[in-house]
């Protein structure tokens, strides 16, 4: 019996030494791994996809490979509804290697604005749940997660149509000019065709016009729309109905009262 007991003792001791050495070196290995997060970038593509890119650089100067390095992002609105999520994985970052990972989250702008047209006119704040996962020494899974808030800038913030100004009184029909202004708080440029319909106090359609607006990101737009209203149809009060015709803003519909 003594020999098997001795063998168990030897085996146990060897395994313990290996385990402790592995644990210590694994912990120290993590200290020598550096993560750098680049500047987040947002773009709107031709097919109306908003792409949020987050570049990561991982330099592994530790003793072991890093396995399954993954970045997961979930963007949700103030009510908790998920707007977009994505996960990017790098199978392995070898010892001494520096790897770059570009994590993209794509949001279909058309669907997004159809979901809640307030995003066209009001700024909002979204909750971004980000997590970074990896396997230290390809064995021990570790995950770091955090919540950050992301602000959404409305492309037609403070959209307003001013008081109609009458042009020459002697012309038939009357030429009416209405000032139009908004601030583009979005990260993309706005180029959109608008259809504006003018209704008088009795609810009759007295003018219908189309115009296009262009505003660079983070800039203000000040312009006007013109109507030709039949004589006698114009009233001091009434309303405008604005329809946004160009995707991805074609969900937009707005009613503005005047007078």
């Amino acid at each position: 019996m003594r020999v098997p007991i001795r063998m168990i003792s030897v085996a146990t001791t060897i395994f313990w030494v290996f385990l402790i050495a592995f644990a210590i070196t694994a912990v120290y290995s993590v200290r020598d791994v550096s993560f750098n997060m680049g500047e987040p970038q947002s773009t709107l593509t031709q097919d109306n996809m908003m792409i949020l890119s987050l570049p990561f650089t991982v330099a592994n100067r530790g003793f072991y490979n890093i396995g399954l390095l993954s970045v997961t992002t979930q963007i949700s609105d103030e009510e908790g509804g998920v707007i977009a999520d994505n996960s990017t994985t790098l199978p392995v970052v070898r010892i001494g290697e520096q790897a770059t990972l570009v994590h993209n989250v794509t949001i279909n702008a058309t669907d997004f604005l159809w979901r809640n047209q307030n995003y066209l006119f009001d700024d909002a704040s979204f909750l971004v749940n980000m997590s970074l996962g990896m396997r230290i020494a390809e064995v021990i899974p570790v995950q770091v997660s955090t919540n950050v808030s992301m602000s959404w800038g409305a492309p037609f913030y403070n959209f307003s149509l001013g008081t109609p100004e009458l042009g020459s009184f002697d012309s038939t029909p009357l030429r009416v000019t209405v000032p139009l202004s908004f601030e583009n708080h979005a990260f993309f440029d706005v180029a959109c065709a608008l259809r504006v319909q003018m209704y008088n106090a009795y609810g009759s359609l007295v003018g219908d016009t189309q115009t296009s607006v262009n505003a660079a990101q983070h800039s203000s737009y000040n312009g006007f729309v013109e109507f030709y209203v039949p004589q006698g149809e114009m009233t001091d009060t009434g309303r405008f109905e604005v329809l946004f015709l160009t995707p991805p803003f074609d969900s937009g519909q707005l009613e503005v009262h005047y007078g």
């Binding site: 019996m1 003594r2 007991i5 146990t12 912990v27 955090t146």
Partner: protein, 153 residues
Amino acid sequence: MAEKNGGLNSKLRKYTFKAVKATLKGILFYLLYIVLWMMFLAPVATVLPGLQRMIETFVMVYVVLIIVSELTSGTIFQYFFDAVKSLFMIGYLIMALGGGTMSITMQNINLAIDLHVFLGIIMLLSLLGLAKAVLQAINFMSEKAEPPQPLPS
């Protein structure tokens, strides 16, 4: 009378030797802990606030078990305490490591470490230690019941 005194002296020597050996083992284990702490664990403890208390409690109980096990060497209780050591190791680690998943929250950042594999290996090694203690106890009892016979020349 002299024979009785000699027996007493021999017993006293035996117990003193056991006590010294137990103390030395305890001190050695504690020194090992201090070296490991200063060299490797102290930087980690700055990130994990409860780590020092967790490890100190473990070391304290383990040193007590080492000393008691050494003091009772030569009796069946030594193996009993060896088995207790292994079971304590399993139980304490399961409790301290939250069943294998550790989670720490600092400000807005949550760090989760899945130590199931690590815990599994420690448990297997501790079970091996437990098996060793049981085998040693069986061996001890069998040797006591049947003293080893000299090999025929």
